[in-house]
């Protein structure tokens, strides 16, 4: 059995185990987060009626272009939105508790302890004035009240687990003494320091070069396996999604336009936007073909069209698309899509 099929099989079994235990670890139920201007005149529906499920040990990839609401969704889950943004409706169930209803003080115990996050620019995520040990130990001390010496022991062990060579000396060094890849792994160590159930990674590899990216992704996968961690992976790199994720969620203009297990979605995309995204991946094998881009611009988020927000750029759009926004259709195999033609597209693809 080759290595790739082996890893595929293991992710397959993980998913079925998760499905058997039933309740997902995190379940968003039509969550909407809006930015409201100071005068209250303009509203941006950055996250609009989003539902998604993350099971224990599973990796969910969220893709979409800039401004599609991916990062706002991550901030919504942790309830660390900027003052102008507000969760206006919906529920977020995490281990049987509704995160929307929790007080700020209660959320503090969730952040970093039960749900951790890795930010977009891990290179800048370390405080330049403190040693590495101090920073890796910080969440442990904050959340578990562990004594300094003990927390530092844990920090050393964590650095070792993210493959930092000679952690004993590294803990006493400062961030500027580390390379980019190391700093990133340290941020990863901070993320898993309190053994969270869910780790949200918001484009964690964008600031790294390709070889380091691959190393880091492998590391994340290994950590996930060791700790049984669920992972939400926000990216606009579909290659990473194919490599890392079990489930795929495609966002466009604040909405989930398509979701489902990665391989069926990649094989027969139900939404024209997903199809267009997949087509725009450059193929190294064919150097005569021009890069395909999606025509047009994403819509103005302050005044979304009445119908489907992708209609203006959609090659398959017809009258109804411009008049009426499609609801979320449930397709076979646990997939969903917001397109009037979704059922046809999937059946056409499988036939």
């Amino acid at each position: 059995m080759s290595n790739s099929t082996l890893s595929f099989a293991s992710s397959e079994t993980r998913r079925s185990v998760a499905a058997e235990t039933g309740r997902p670890l995190l379940e968003l139920d039509s969550i909407s987060t809006h930015y409201v201007s100071a005068q209250g005149t303009r509203v941006v529906r950055a996250v609009d009626d989003v539902s998604l499920r993350v099971h224990a040990g599973e990796t969910v990839g969220i893709v979409g272009e800039s401004g599609s609401g991916k990062s706002t969704l991550a901030l919504t889950i942790l309830r660390v939105l900027p003052p102008a943004a507000q969760i206006v409706s919906g529920q977020m169930w995490f281990e049987g508790e509704d995160l929307v209803k929790k007080s700020d003080a209660e959320m503090q115990h969730v952040r970093g302890k039960r749900i951790a996050m890795i930010l977009q620019d891990p290179m800048a995520s370390l405080n330049p004035l403190f040693t590495i040990g101090n920073q890796v130990a910080e969440p442990i001390r904050v959340h578990e009240g562990t004594r300094k010496a003990k927390a530092w022991d844990r920090a050393r062990a964590l650095l070792k687990s993210v493959r930092i060579p000679s952690p004993e000396t590294r803990v006493t060094q400062y961030p500027h003494e580390m390379s980019g890849g190391m700093r990133q792994r340290i941020v990863g160590a901070i993320g898993i320091s309190c053994e969270p159930k869910l780790l949200i990674a918001d484009e964690p590899t964008t600031s790294l070069d390709l070889t380091i990216q691959a190393q880091y992704l492998n590391l994340l996968r290994e950590l996930q396996k060791e700790h049984g961690l669920a992972l939400i992976f926000i990216t606009h790199n579909l290659g990473i999604v194919a490599k890392m994720c079990d489930q795929l969620v495609v966002m466009y203009a604040g909405r989930v336009v398509e979701s489902g297990p990665v391989s069926p979605v990649f094989n027969t995309p139900a939404h024209p936007y997903t199809k267009a995204l997949l087509n725009s991946i450059p193929r190294m094998s064919d150097n005569r073909q021009r890069l395909t881009a999606i025509d047009g611009q994403p819509p103005d988020m302050t005044s979304l069209p009445r119908g489907c927000s992708f209609a203006a750029r959609c090659p398959a759009a017809f009258d109804r698309c411009h008049k009426e926004a499609p609801p979320e259709f449930n397709l076979e195999g646990g997939r969903t899509a917001r397109c009037w033609l979704a059922t046809v597209a999937v059946q056409g693809g499988t036939a």
Binding site: P83, S125, E138, V142
Partner: protein, 297 residues
Amino acid sequence: MSITTETIALTSQPQQRSSAARLSDLPMIPIIILGVITFVAIFADFLAPHNPEVGALTARFRPPFWQNGGSWDHILGTDQLGRDVLSRLIFGARVSMVVGFTAVIFAGVIGTCLGILAGYIGGWVDQVIMRVVDAWLALPALTFAIFLAAIVGPSMWNIVIILGAVYWTRYARIVRGEVLSLKEREFVRLAVVAGCSKMTIMRRHILPNVVNSAIVLATLMLGVVIVTEASLSFLGVGVPPPQPAWGLMLSDGKQGLMVGYWWLTVFPGCCIMLMVLSANLLGDWLRVKLDPQLRQL
């Protein structure tokens, strides 16, 4: 052979330098100057040749010993009341040291704390603090200090409180600006998503990063504070008159400058300059030492 010894010497060099650097790293000049001033201030009673507060009117305006009419009895001359300038400088070190440093620190602590609160919490807290700062800054510092001094009455410790109350706004302004940019930095946001409370973030992530600016400002403020203290003394609401203070000596001697009594202003002026300069150098050194990246260069 020579090559190998050379390479050994080269590789071992950084080690040696870092241990040797630790000693030579200390800013010797400011430490010596401030050390001398402190020593003099503490042992003023033993060092001063005369009583600083009592003079002989028969011996007014005596020049320093090397000038015509000067004597070794009054090494740096006497002032308009016949008091010994050297003795007054020695005792004045007490007032100027205590008032200068404590007022600067007092103002710095208040200003930094309020600046961090305003910048990090934002919203109405920011509005309230910064509008107070605006109003404060709109008042001329000296007038405001006189007003406060008139209320609480003149004494050395009251002057410290007054100067702190007048000058904290400058720290608050600068610190708040710094906090506004810090709070958008990724490591502060990471602390937020790692579940740190606002208090922890302000204390552990914001404060250490603004301390540098506060220290630089403090070293600059030291001179301002000493001179303001002098102005207050001159106006009769500062450190009460018979007690000597450098600033007071400076402003008392001002009129004498035009008629040739230069020693009344030059000596206290030099003392103030040396102290401010040393504080600046020390502050600069501290700024480098507090930054792990600069520290290792």
